[in-house]
């Protein structure tokens, strides 16, 4: 009952079909550099009004809790809400098609000309900037959590970094060891 009401809320404005979903997410895939979430939000909430601000925030929260690329998960949820399994497939395909094609063209060019002239230096510069980007993302994610829960969250940030970054342990081991403890710590804090 409740979930039925949620579904109808979701599609109250208009109900895009698979083709519209494909095209909309095609635009999102092409517009984002270094992560496409802000562009997805603009398309879904501001430009097409397929989701309200709250619906987008809830969808994102769900997609960040589940494994997998967050934006890909968002496209699955939105696509399936409006047009079922076909809609989900259309949205994911639209999101991925153009970026995969472009990145493969770039990789082919890199394979063929990557050692020519100053291109190695250009790629080295790009690589250095790309890890600066990841470092900034990490800092933006870490600070609010550390500020809010210094005791129950910070040790798990450090432990995950040491396990995977310094000790180079398999990710599955680190997740299996830390996730239950971290969830238990978060649970205990709520009570």
């Amino acid at each position: 009952m409740n979930s039925d009401m949620q579904s109808s809320d979701f599609s109250q404005t208009d109900s895009p079909g698979a083709a519209a979903l494909f095209l909309a997410f095609l635009g999102v895939g092409l517009s984002g550099f270094g992560g496409v979430l802000p562009f997805a939000r603009r398309m879904l909430v501001e430009r097409r009004a397929w989701l309200s601000e709250t619906q987008f925030a809830e969808t994102l929260a769900l997609c960040q809790t589940l494994p997998g690329p967050n934006i890909v998960n968002v496209s699955v949820v939105v696509g399936s809400r409006f047009a079922g399994a076909l809609g989900a497939l259309a949205a994911v395909t639209g999101l991925m098609a153009a970026p995969v094609a472009i990145v493969l063209v770039l990789a082919t060019l890199y394979g063929r000309y990557g050692a020519v002239g100053r291109l190695p230096e250009m790629i080295a510069g790009l690589g250095a900037a790309a890890c600066g980007l990841v470092a900034a993302t990490a800092a933006k994610m870490a600070l609010p959590i550390v500020r809010k829960r210094p005791v129950t969250a910070a040790p798990f940030i450090v432990a995950a970094f040491v396990g995977v970054g310094l000790m180079r342990l398999p990710l599955v081991w680190v997740l299996a060891a830390l996730a239950p403890l971290s969830i238990a710590a978060a649970w205990g804090r709520k009570g």
Binding site: G34, A61, L126, C131
Partner: protein
């Protein structure tokens, strides 16, 4: 050897596993991708991994493009497609089925605890990604400076990160980073 069914099968299995442990998105599995493709399978060197990550970041689209490029490096175009589909399909199926159940559970206390508990672990993984990428990419002090400057600008300003990538590429082309 390239494009052999065994290699494509290996890619498919490894990326399907990665898909299901990619809590926090693609950036959180960069260390595991690095471990797989450099340390375990020797598909590429440390420096090549850093280069592919740079290309993935410089191209438009989701961060998951690094998985596409690792597949491409390991087994060409078929490898790229297998890696991309395997990286997305399991988590997409999970999301498809979880989305409806989630509506019913969203007010529950354990749902909030899972979200709050996973967050610090994934943050630690993204820090590890930055660490490993810097290890691979920053071969001399000028590149360390580029990394630090990018991190500070992206953290402290609302400037589109693409400008930092373009500036760094320009410095390289000008021969300043050599």
């Amino acid at each position: 050897m390239k494009n052999s069914p065994a290699l494509l099968g290996d890619l498919a299995v490894q990326f399907m596993i990665l898909s299901l442990v990619a809590f926090g998105g693609a950036n959180a599995v960069v260390p595991e991708l690095h471990r797989l493709s450099v340390t375990l399978r020797h598909w590429m060197t440390d420096a090549e991994f850093a280069n592919l990550f740079a290309i993935a970041q410089a191209a438009p689209g989701p961060n998951v493009m690094i998985a596409t490029l690792v597949g491409w490096k390991a087994a060409g175009l078929p490898g790229a497609l297998v890696a991309t589909v395997a990286m997305c399909a399991p988590s997409c199926l999970l999301t498809y089925f979880a989305a409806r159940a989630w509506e019913r559970w969203r007010e529950t206390r354990w749902r909030a605890a899972i979200g709050a508990g996973l967050a610090p672990v994934t943050v630690g993984l993204v820090v590890a990604s930055a660490w490993l990428l810097a290890h691979a990419a920053d071969r001399q002090w000028r590149l360390v400076a580029v990394t630090a400057a990018t991190a500070i600008v992206v953290y402290a300003t609302k400037l589109n990160p693409l400008w930092c990538l373009a500036a760094a590429a320009g410095l390289g082309l000008a021969g300043v980073l050599g």
